[in-house]
């Protein structure tokens, strides 16, 4: 007989499961965390390598000569920008036309749901300017994009200057097989979103783009704010934690090594001493920064919005810090020229390398096959708990009174549905109320709109904590032993499915939520000490996880902040999350409010079952 069909063996297995449930769960949790920390250990990672045959190695000859002229153009741009007080559209159009590109503009306007205090904008109106360099001999079926944002003040002038310098140089070459689009977007992400929507003719906030260059194969966004730089930083994380194909990062790294420019990721340089403690902690810090950035679900550069359209994109930032060896604009121009020549050789979209990975340093990576078991071990805990509860529910209850057993099933379903519905309604309230009632909040309280939204969100969140007491009073009397077990089974399975789906799309978000919510799900019952468990549950709730993540993120970036500043940062993170959702379609805010928060409320319900 088989293992599971033999009743004796089955009983033995089940008793093993129920006896050892807690120890196995603890072991799994420790193993999951240890596996995750071990990912940054260099012998467990792989060196990056170019997977795409068509891109080959870095054997091109870069000949870009005009770095100084590019910087001069940048200064002109900055002067015109100051004069017009925004984007100097006519000057840009004239300059691009002089360089031989086909120039077009795109207007867009957008009203945010509430004012954005970080960037101080509410009703945004702007123009994107883009010039298309047509490939001399190729049909107009494919395109590459080079973009630089037009930022207020003194930022990114050199980026626009370099973009125009490269445009002039590229125009004189005959080996382009794809059209190259040079884009200067206003109001960074909002402008980029409008341009992408206009280019792909999807739901637009601006006008459609008149002229296209075919389907975009790859895009690079440039952020350069100083004439001389010491290192180049690569930013990969995009909207909803999506990452570009690893080949793009490999290409960047290969060219950095060839030309001899210092390259960093997450602002951190690579170290060679992986076997020392400080070397390992450096790698862990780099990886954790990537995890944090990916979990936030916001695009960390203008490239982040391209990824949704299956266009591999990355942002290259020039950093000027206190190092001895300086790189000038000509060298950066050569690096970009080399990268674009290699991208020109592509025959299909980048697809040979990984789409899901973590990078503890620029030359090492961990692929999804290696990091998923860390999450899997945490998910196993939930499944073990579910099995344990199922076993407990299947054993027939002691028959003290005969009458009780008949009414059980009906009351069971009702006592199960009510917490579910109420939790989800609270979630919906948390999702919708802050934005809807901001005017009312502003009338009654002396706060600005942004603060109103955020504080309403926190208020609804805290109000949800008071619900369980009321639910039960409503239901007539106390709940039963059966009842809370069924509810917990449903909640645990619900959490497992939710976290699993999240981890597939955005591993970092799924893992961080799992780290805090899985212990909650595992240990909570009505019989644990109430006050202590309530405290732990609140600490491990999604909002507090966010608060701790904010402090942790600042620590990782070596810019630790005080509690006051941390709290303000936390509030601004919430408002940014809501804005990201309404502007670009980021899924973190609806996920947390509509799915994760109700799930956590279910566990809160179970705690206060009696």
């Amino acid at each position: 007989m088989g293992l599971l069909s033999d009743p004796n063996r089955r009983r033995a297995l089940i008793s093993l499961l129920t006896r050892l449930n807690t120890p196995i769960c603890i072991v799994c949790y420790m193993a999951g965390v240890a596996w995750f920390m071990g990912l940054a250990f260099e012998p467990f990672t792989l060196r990056t390598y170019m997977s795409e045959n068509a891109m080959g190695s870095t054997m091109v000859e870069e000949r870009f000569p005009a770095g100084e002229r590019a910087l001069a153009t940048g200064r002109e741009f900055s002067a015109h920008k100051k004069r017009t007080g925004g984007m100097p559209v006519e000057w840009l159009m004239k300059t691009m036309q002089a360089k031989g590109l086909e120039v077009f503009t795109q207007r867009f306007s957008r009203t945010l749901p509430f004012p954005d205090e970080n960037k101080e904008r509410y009703m945004v109106r702007g123009t994107n300017v883009y010039g298309i360099l047509r490939a001399p001999r190729a049909p107009r079926t494919e395109a590459l994009v080079l973009s630089a944002p037009c930022s207020p003040g003194d930022n990114n002038n050199q980026a626009v200057g370099l973009l125009l310098g490269l445009a002039e140089y590229f125009r004189n070459q005959i080996y382009w097989a794809k059209d190259i689009i040079f884009l200067v977007n206003e109001h960074d992400l909002i402008g980029m979103q409008a341009w992408l929507e206009g280019y792909h003719h999807t739901n637009t906030t601006g006008t459609f783009c008149h002229s296209r260059g075919g389907s975009i194969q790859a895009a690079l966004s440039l952020e350069l704010s100083s004439d001389i730089i010491t290192s180049l930083d690569l930013v990969l994380e995009g909207l909803n934690g999506q990452l570009p194909n690893l080949d793009l990062a490999n290409l960047f790294y290969a060219f950095c090594q060839k030309i001899g420019v210092l390259c960093t990721i997450q602002g951190k340089l690579q170290r060679n001493d992986w076997d020392s403690v400080s070397g390992y902690s450096h790698a862990v810090q780099t990886m954790m920064l990537m995890v944090m950035k990916q979990a936030s679900g916001r695009p960390w550069g203008d490239h982040g919005l391209f990824l949704r359209y299956h266009i591999e994109a990355a942002t290259i930032k020039g950093v000027n810090s206190f190092r001895q060896y300086k790189t000038d604009a000509t060298t950066i121009g050569r690096l970009l020229e080399g990268m674009y020549r290699k991208l020109n050789n592509l025959l299909e979209r980048l697809h040979q390398s990984y789409f899901f990975y973590l990078m503890p340093s620029l030359s090492h990576f961990v692929s999804i096959g290696y990091y998923m078991p860390a999450f899997g071990l945490l998910a196993v805990i939930l499944l073990l708990r579910a099995l344990d509860l199922w076993v407990q529910l299947s054993t027939p209850p002691q028959r003290t009174e005969d009458g009780v057993t008949d009414i059980e099933p009906v009351r069971g379903v009702l006592s199960l549905l009510t917490p579910l519905v109420i939790s989800h309604l609270t979630g919906v309230a948390l999702y919708m109320l802050p934005i809807r009632f901001q005017e009312m909040a502003v009338e009654h309280f002396p706060v600005s709109e942004t603060e109103a939204v955020v504080l309403t969100a926190i208020a609804v969140y805290t109000a949800g904590l008071a619900l369980p007491h009321n639910t039960h009073r409503l239901l007539s009397g106390e709940g039963t032993e059966q009842g809370w077990r069924v509810l917990k089974l449903v909640a645990v399975l619900y959490l497992a499915v939710l976290l699993g789906c999240t981890a597939l799309i955005n591993f970092s978000l799924g893992f961080i939520l799992a780290l805090t919510l899985v212990p909650v799900a595992a240990f909570v019952t009505p019989h644990v000490p109430k006050v202590l468990s309530a405290f732990i549950l609140v600490i491990l709730s999604p909002a507090c996880t966010l608060l701790f993540s904010v402090f942790f993120f600042q620590e990782l970036q070596e810019m630790p902040i005080s509690f006051q500043d941390g709290w303000l940062l936390f509030l601004s993170v919430i408002s940014q999350g809501i804005l990201d959702h309404s502007l670009y379609g980021s899924l973190v805010y609806p996920l947390i409010t509509l799915l994760v928060y109700p799930c956590w409320l279910l566990f809160w319900n179970i705690l206060f079952w009696n």
Binding site: M59, R137, Q173, Y175, W176, A177, R341, K342, N344, N345
Partner: protein, 392 residues
């Protein structure tokens, strides 16, 4: 025939050559004997015409070097005298006019851009997607539809020496065509056997420049085949040097050194196959080139490079009259006669006089079905009808 023409020419214009030989009588008699002997040799060289089939099987810009390989062999072959009408050139992709080529209309073999192997008068017979395994085998065996133009046919006969050059990406026992199909060494060997049986070649030289190229000639079994490969089984053939301005590798090592070797050959050179075997030793090629001569009847040392790579007419000038009364008695006469027996395509005599074979007797089909039904019924009767409901 040529000999007679020359003789006639000289006879008519003998006043132009007053003292060409300028010897005494003794000398004359000696030379006369030499010529008599060498007349036999003159007429017994096997081939009268040369063909070349040059194939590049890979496409895409990063396989620039395979096209450059094929074009450099094409160039040598044309320079040494084989005309375009006798060359079948198959290129799977167009590198010269590729959008990514910074020097359009050229294909270079060396990074200093010394040699443009594309030239002015390249005639490509099979281009782009026409280079398939099926087309290649049809060319070799001659089974082409009647509408195929002459430039796309291999119109060789039993006195043709054929050079076949293949390059691309290959593995152990196969060669990849166009990233979508493969030709195996067995198929190739069978195609050559078909060629032999249809008397489509006199001698055939097969050169292949791919990874593990030696595996492609392992299975040959037809006579008069000589094969060269750029690497042994388990070894990769490496590319030579990249050109940074163009951005790709320009040629493969073996063909690069082969081209260098062939540039020194002129139509009258007497270099033989043993020198060709020495091209690109391991120190230059990193892989070990191999060759196979066991199926070849002549000694490789006596085979000239121009027997395959060029189209050379033999001309002997003489002032003497020569009596061609004795039949030419070549040493390899009997062997050749044996190898040239006509293989029976359809052994009619065997078929007519054959007795029918004793087939094994099988019981009729219905009988077996009935037997199984009976077995099932007996089974269910014994073990109870209630089991039947599980089936129906």
């Amino acid at each position: 025939m040529y000999f007679l023409l020359v003789y006639m020419y000289i006879k008519n214009h003998v006043y132009m050559f007053p003292d060409l030989l300028g010897c005494h009588g003794k000398c004359r008699r000696y030379l006369f004997c030499c010529f008599q002997d060498r007349a036999g040799q003159f007429f017994s060289s096997g081939h009268t015409n040369n063909w070349a089939v040059l194939v590049c099987t890979s496409r895409f810009w990063f396989n620039y070097r395979h096209v450059a390989n094929t074009l450099s062999v094409y160039r040598s072959v044309k320079r040494l005298g084989i005309p375009d009408s006798h060359i079948v050139l198959m290129l799977a992709d167009d590198m010269a006019c590729n959008h990514r080529n910074p020097k359009p209309a050229t294909v270079f073999s060396h990074k200093n851009m010394e040699l443009n192997v594309y030239g002015d008068d390249v005639e490509v017979d099979y281009r782009g997607y026409e280079v398939t395994v099926e087309n290649f085998l049809r060319i070799l065996t001659g089974r082409l539809p009647p509408s195929t133009p002459r430039s796309k046919r291999l119109l060789s006969d039993d006195r043709s020496n054929i050079l076949i050059y293949l390059t691309g990406h290959g593995g152990n026992g196969f060669l990849k065509f166009q990233d979508s199909e493969e030709i195996s060494n067995v198929e190739l060997a069978d195609a050559f056997e078909q060629m032999w049986q249809k008397r489509r070649y006199n001698e055939l030289l097969f050169i292949i420049d791919t990874c593990q190229g030696a595996s492609m000639y392992e299975r040959f079994y037809s006579p008069n085949l000589m094969a060269l490969a750029s690497s042994q089984v388990g070894e990769d053939s490496l590319s030579h040097q990249p050109d940074l301005a163009i951005g790709v590798h320009l040629m493969d090592r073996y063909t690069f050194y082969l081209l260098e070797f062939l540039e020194d050959i002129h139509p009258a050179s007497k270099t033989n196959m043993n020198d060709l075997f020495k091209v690109c030793p391991k120190s230059q090629c990193v892989s070990t080139p191999g060759h196979r001569t066991d199926l070849f009847l002549r000694d490789p040392g006596s085979v000239l490079i121009t027997d395959f790579f060029g189209s050379v007419r033999k001309v002997e000038l003489t002032m003497e009259t020569i009596n061609l009364t004795d039949p030419i008695d070549a040493e390899s006469g009997e062997l050749q006669k044996e190898m040239h027996t006509y293989a029976d395509q359809l052994p009619v005599s065997e078929i007519i006089h054959q007795k029918p074979k004793q087939k094994d007797w099988h019981p009729p089909d219905g009988f077996i079905l009935g037997l199984w039904t009976l077995i099932l019924l007996v089974f269910f009767q014994t073990y109870g009808v209630k089991h039947l409901k599980h089936i129906f």
